[in-house]
């Protein structure tokens, strides 16, 4: 008490002195941060946030060529002026003291700083040499959804067009591939039909394995605000673990890992049984299909899978659902039949508008494509789709997963328009890229996991990695790191900070970060967002786009890369736009992008399209139709019969726990940026393992004690978190993956969805030891 009193008096002493100082020296301040010398006044410039796929608009405050503050952009309809803690402090990520400012080359085993031109020479020479020695498919480009649209576009042009190899992949394979194949199989065209405005229209939200409160907080607060305003809004959190989202939801429903497949089918069963199906809609706008079953998990090298869709009748579909009565589904999923019926009644209630949200829970799933299909089924059966508030909504995790990877098509099978397998698409690309016919290889090569396996095997000898950190994020990491470190593998890494990936590099290129270059991102709701070069980059940093252009020119492709450094982004955009020259995908012109805080495509006749496939809003729909799912030839969306199948590796006697991995609100992706932002690092300085309190008690660990997590692939020892911000159910542990000091992916399994080839980071078997 005495001590408290004393410290109280002391702080009164301080404030009295400070107040006195204030009266003598008006404006005197004792703030914590250092000042830009001689700075007066801030100018504000718009940009999309650097981090997640929400695509918040930020205003960056600039003084004397330094970014010094951030505000939410009130003109951006995504966030309407409110950011999250990452966004507000995003600009601090530009100024970490260990920013990469010079190029480095490995000489006699040591990294040595060199002029960037020399590094670019070495890259071009090595590329040429490797192609000559090992063939064109021995070189690869690995980027990410953090690439700007021009970054991905020139990468595709150089590798797919000029070099003729389809070895272009991106981190988005680990993050969005199941969403893409979900859209393609159900609708024949990628990306959500709805938009964020659905949030204000919807009466019911169901989040499928999606901790939105932490991962998409800005959209989640829009949901909360809508609930507060409208009162009768219901939020259901359907998940495998209790999180902040569960706490904010009106109902938290837990299911056993991978059994969301059974739950979704059971909801469909109930909808049909109760006559809640929109018969007209289903008859006019859908067809029924089934595909192969028992489709495997891709854990072995050279795994191949091709689905074989077959038509089926509604009666056959109904018959298929007999295996998923709520009672049967309860036995599989652990979700009570009552809860299943409750959710079905929400989806089925004709007076309620329902929006489903999901992200990694459904995408990082060994049956990711299937579960995407099944949630679309629910919305199609009830006709709750493509109208305001009725929206199956697949969220993205990276700022330009949609813009760059999905729209530009930086995946092995894709082109900016169409797929490499289609002659029409190849011809279009060859024409726009001014290449001789036949330049583009019609055969897709490696998807991401197989690409790193090929690197390990030696089928790939040269890999250029830009804006991503696979040496944290690849599942079964030990194998792929050892592969990258093998002799005669040449790894180029373009990044902004040293990471475990630059640790395996032979050449490091210092990259411009975010607003140190001009570029565009594309967010989850088909919104393209332009940003100017707002501050200069340090040292020799160069945009990823320009790095590729420099190397392309050294390889002799001057004709394909003719632009000047002054206006190359605008020129590239206008060239890229030619690929999407149709009302289903039209992009806004450069000048429009520059002027606005994001523009949604299809951009037709000067207007953005809010809801696709609905003729009221979407000019690409057939005249006179109400709905037109024009991605499919007959304009009908596909309802799929997809069964429940278990995870690749489930807990057994020996490895008796599920391991689930993910993120926290403070850190983004592998943490290389957010950990350099003081306030974010201070909030969550290191990773941890969440345990169920009962499991912790059985194991004899208390909060903060060390636990060893062991799988068949690797092990890791970290601090236990019990009743922390998330609580896994009994038999599951959860680990955030951002921390390079605790590489949880050394423990995870590289099993993937056979259709999308996206790995499942949420399910593998581990055992625990008190360390």
């Amino acid at each position: 008490m005495k001590l408290n009193r004393r410290s109280f008096i002391k702080s009164a002493a301080v404030s009295s002195a400070v107040a006195t100082a204030g009266s003598i020296f008006p404006g005197i301040s004792f703030a914590d941060w250092k000042r830009v010398k001689g700075a007066y006044g801030i100018t504000w410039k718009k940009a999309p946030c650097r981090f997640c796929g929400t695509g918040c608009g930020v205003l960056v405050g600039v003084t004397n060529n330094r970014a010094v503050a951030v505000k939410g952009d009130p003109n951006c309809s995504v966030n309407k002026g409110l950011c999250c803690v990452k966004g507000y402090h995003s600009v601090q990520a530009l100024y970490g003291r260990d920013r990469l400012k010079k190029a480095q080359i490995r000489k006699n085993g040591k990294m040595v700083e060199v002029p960037i031109a020399e590094a670019l020479d070495v890259i071009a020479a090595k590329l040429k040499e490797t192609v000559k020695k090992h063939g064109k498919d021995s070189v690869a480009m690995y980027g990410s959804g953090q690439w700007t649209i021009p970054d991905g576009y020139v990468a595709s042009k150089l590798f797919k067009g000029c070099l003729g190899t389809n070895n272009v992949e991106a981190n988005a394979r680990l993050c969005m591939a199941s969403a893409v194949t979900g859209f393609m199989t159900s609708f024949g065209i990628d990306e959500p039909m709805g938009c964020y405005e659905d949030i204000e229209h919807a009466d019911v939200f169901i989040t499928w394995g999606n901790n939105m409160a932490e991962m998409h907080p800005v959209l989640f607060s829009r949901m909360l605000a809508s609930r507060k305003r409208k009162k009768d809004v219901t939020i259901i959190d359907l998940a495998t673990r209790t999180t902040r989202t569960s706490q904010a939801a009106d109902r938290s429903i837990l299911f056993k890992p991978n059994t969301d497949l059974a739950v979704a089918n059971a909801i469909c069963y109930e909808i049909i049984r109760n006559g809640w199906m929109d018969k007209d809609f289903v008859k006019k706008h859908t067809t029924f299909h089934k595909g192969k079953t028992n489709i495997g998990y891709g854990t072995e090298d050279h795994f191949k899978f091709k689905d074989k869709p077959e038509n089926m009748s509604f009666a056959e579909y109904k018959n298929f659902l007999e295996d998923y009565t709520p009672e049967k589904a309860e036995r599989i999923s652990g979700v009570s039949a009552r809860d299943i019926k409750y959710m079905a009644s929400l989806y089925g209630d004709p007076t309620k508008k329902v929006t489903s949200f999901w992200c990694m829970g459904m995408n990082q799933h060994v049956r990711g494509t299937w579960i995407n299909n099944l949630v679309y089924n629910i919305h199609l059966l009830t006709g709750k789709i493509s109208t305001p508030g009725n929206s199956p909504f697949s969220l993205t995790g990276q700022p330009s997963a949609c813009g760059t990877v999905r729209e530009v098509g930086t995946l092995t099978h894709k082109l900016p328009y169409g797929v490499v397998m289609k002659e029409k698409a190849r011809k279009k690309a060859e024409k726009i890229w001014d290449l001789p016919a036949g330049s583009i290889d019609p055969k897709p090569t490696y998807h991401t996991v197989e690409m790193f396996r090929a690197l390990d095997r030696g089928d790939i000898r040269f890999m250029w990695i830009q804006v991503t950190n696979p040496m944290i994020t690849m599942p079964n990491l030990n194998r792929y790191r050892n592969g990258a470190l093998k002799d005669d593998r040449f790894i180029v890494v373009s990044d902004v900070y040293p990471t475990p990936t630059t640790d395996v590099a032979d050449v490091i290129l210092p990259a411009s970060m975010w607003i140190e270059q001009e570029g565009m991102y594309g967010n989850s709701e088909r919104r393209t967002q332009h940003f100017d070069e707002i501050v200069p980059g340090p040292g020799d940093t160069m945009s990823d786009t320009w790095q590729i252009i420099e190397v392309a020119r050294r390889l002799g492709f001057k004709k394909q890369f003719p632009w000047s450094q002054k206006n190359y982004i605008g020129k590239i955009w206008e060239e890229y736009r030619r690929f999407h020259d149709n009302p289903k995908h039209n992009m806004a012109p450069y000048e429009v992008l520059k002027a606005r805080s994001g523009v949604q495509w299809p951009f037709v006749n000067g207007k953005e399209t809010r809801w696709r496939f609905n003729s009221k809003y979407d000019p690409a729909c057939k005249k006179g139709s109400d709905f037109d799912f024009y991605g499919k030839k007959d304009g009908k969306a596909w309802i799929w019969a997809r069964p429940y199948e278990p995870a690749a590796e489930s807990p057994d006697q020996e490895y008796n726990f599920w391991l689930n991995t993910g993120r926290v609100i403070e850190h983004w992706h592998s943490g290389s940026m957010t950990r350099r932002i003081p306030i974010l690092h201070n909030a969550v300085p290191e990773s941890y393992v969440e345990l169920n309190p009962e499991d912790a008690a059985n194991l004899g660990v208390v909060n903060g004690e060390l636990v060893k997590i062991i799988s068949r692939r690797g092990s890791i020892t970290m601090k236990a978190s019990i009743n922390g911000r998330g609580v896994p159910p009994k038999g599951m542990v959860f680990v955030p993956f951002f921390d390079e000091d605790y590489k949880i992916n050394e423990v995870t399994l590289d099993a993937f969805c056979p259709i999308s080839k996206q790995p499942d980071y949420k399910k593998c078997a581990v055992r625990l030891e008190k360390a």
Partner: protein
Amino acid sequence: MPILSFLALPQDGGMEQLCNDLSAMEYCEIIPAENQEVIVLVTDTPDVEAEKNLQKSLKNLPSLQSLSMTFGHNAEQ
């Protein structure tokens, strides 16, 4: 055993020196202003002897131009 707070002004250009000097002294806590040559000094001594010694050494500090008290409290209990 008093708790006192002062505004300390350094000799011209001696802000850093004064910060160093004051923070090196026992029973002293400082908060330097960022945009003015002023330091908030809080002293918290355990007994009369220490208080006397501290006042003496403060008076003899060459980097200090002036010291003005803004708050005083004598906590006897």
